[in-house]
């Protein structure tokens, strides 16, 4: 079977909205669906993807070793995830500056990796400076992550404009940390509010869940545990990346028993 050869940057503008957690979990979910996946940590100087994936003790070479030819090929720097098999991490250097990685060299590297894998997912640093430009220019597709907070949505809008200026037209949105009870009381922006404001295609929704903290503590992506509520949301995003016609897993559709029944018999259609 031919490789999908897709390169995707996960970005947000604002920091702390869950880019790294989403990269780790969607990447792991794709690997569980039997795709060959490489996760690239582009947050040079402030790496964390290794920690979320629980691979921090296995790093020998990093991104700058590959760029500066200190290892034979990028393959030597890839860390294979023993739990999943076809999931690999290319870690960011911890003692370098973002500007130390030239834009064109990074793009060349991503192109090279892409040829042998289904997905290369780049975890982009916060901000719209060098690290963002480097990651965004190297990837063909982009995912923007936002939470329902005003500052995060505003920054997401700037990032979307930046991506458009780079000629990327298929940018998709993940809304992270939706608090159902607050939306119901109109104390938090709804999915509709956010989409109306940003005017962008929705890829998926992740509800707020304290279990993320525990999974980070353990260095084990949530999706490795199929019994956890968040599994289906990350898995849905992974599936929708391959087939956009799959409906979005909407936490607001869970509702009460009547609504569940209605959606079961097809009376209530998912809006998206």
């Amino acid at each position: 079977m031919g490789k999908l050869k897709r390169s995707i940057v996960v970005t947000s503008g604002k920091g702390g909205v869950g880019k790294t957690t989403i990269t780790a979990n969607v990447g792991t979910a794709l690997a569980l669906l039997n795709y060959q996946v490489v996760l690239v940590d582009a947050d040079v100087g402030l790496r964390n993807l290794d920690l979320i994936l629980g691979l921090e003790n296995r790093i020998v070479f990093d991104l700058s070793d590959v760029i500066e030819n200190r290892c034979r090929s990028y393959k030597q720097a890839l860390i294979k995830d023993k739990r999943v098999g076809n999931l690999f991490l290319l870690p960011a250097p911890q003692t370098k500056q973002k500007e130390d990685i030239p834009l064109d060299k990074f793009k060349e590297l991503i192109e090279e990796i892409k040829q042998e894998f289904d997905f290369v997912i780049i975890d982009c640093p916060a901000g719209i400076e060098h690290g963002f430009k480097m990651s965004a220019k190297a990837a063909e597709e982009a995912i923007v992550v936002t939470t329902p907070d005003l500052s995060s949505i505003r920054d997401a809008d700037r990032v979307i404009a930046n991506l458009e200026a780079m000629g990327k037209n298929s940018t998709k949105l993940i809304i992270n940390r939706m608090k159902k009870h607050m939306v119901k009381k109109s104390q938090m922006l709804s999915i509709e509010d956010i989409l109306e404001t940003l005017n962008i295609e929705l890829l998926g929704i992740i509800p707020d869940d304290e279990y993320i903290t525990i999974s980070t503590n353990n260095g084990e992506p949530v999706v490795l545990n199929k019994t956890k509520p968040l599994y289906k949301y990350f898995n849905n995003i992974a599936n929708r990346l391959v087939d956009p016609s799959i409906p979005i897993e909407n936490p607001f559709n869970e509702g009460n028993i009547f609504q569940k029944f209605a959606s079961l018999v097809g009376l209530k259609k998912t809006k998206y």
Binding site: R154, D157, K185, S186, Q187, L189, S190, D193, T197, N199
Partner: protein, 94 residues
């Protein structure tokens, strides 16, 4: 002592208090429209330049300094609202 949440909700209905998500949405859309209009080489800026050129073919009194373009969004549609003032005074016959 705090009130039970259902009672709070009920009071809010009678107080006709604006829901905070509604306030958030209005504030957010305002800053975003502003952010977008500030963008260098934004399509709006280009449109403005082209329109000035076009308008000047027909009128020589377009007040280009005061011209304003904004994208407004409501529930149903997104629209481009243009305000093109003329230097000719309102009392003058057009």
């Amino acid at each position: 002592m705090s009130l039970p949440s259902w009672l709070e909700e009920l009071i809010n209905i009678f107080k006709k208090e604006k829901k905070s998500s509604k306030i958030a949405k209005e504030r957010l859309q305002l800053v975003i429209v502003h952010d977008r209009s500030q963008e260098k080489n934004s399509t709006i800026e280009k449109l403005k330049e082209d329109l000035i050129e076009l308008l000047s073919k027909y009128r020589d009194d377009v007040d280009t300094e005061e011209m304003d373009f904004v994208i407004k969004a409501d529930k149903h549609r997104v629209s481009l609202v243009a305000s093109i003032p003329l230097k000719t005074r309102a009392t003058t016959k057009l």
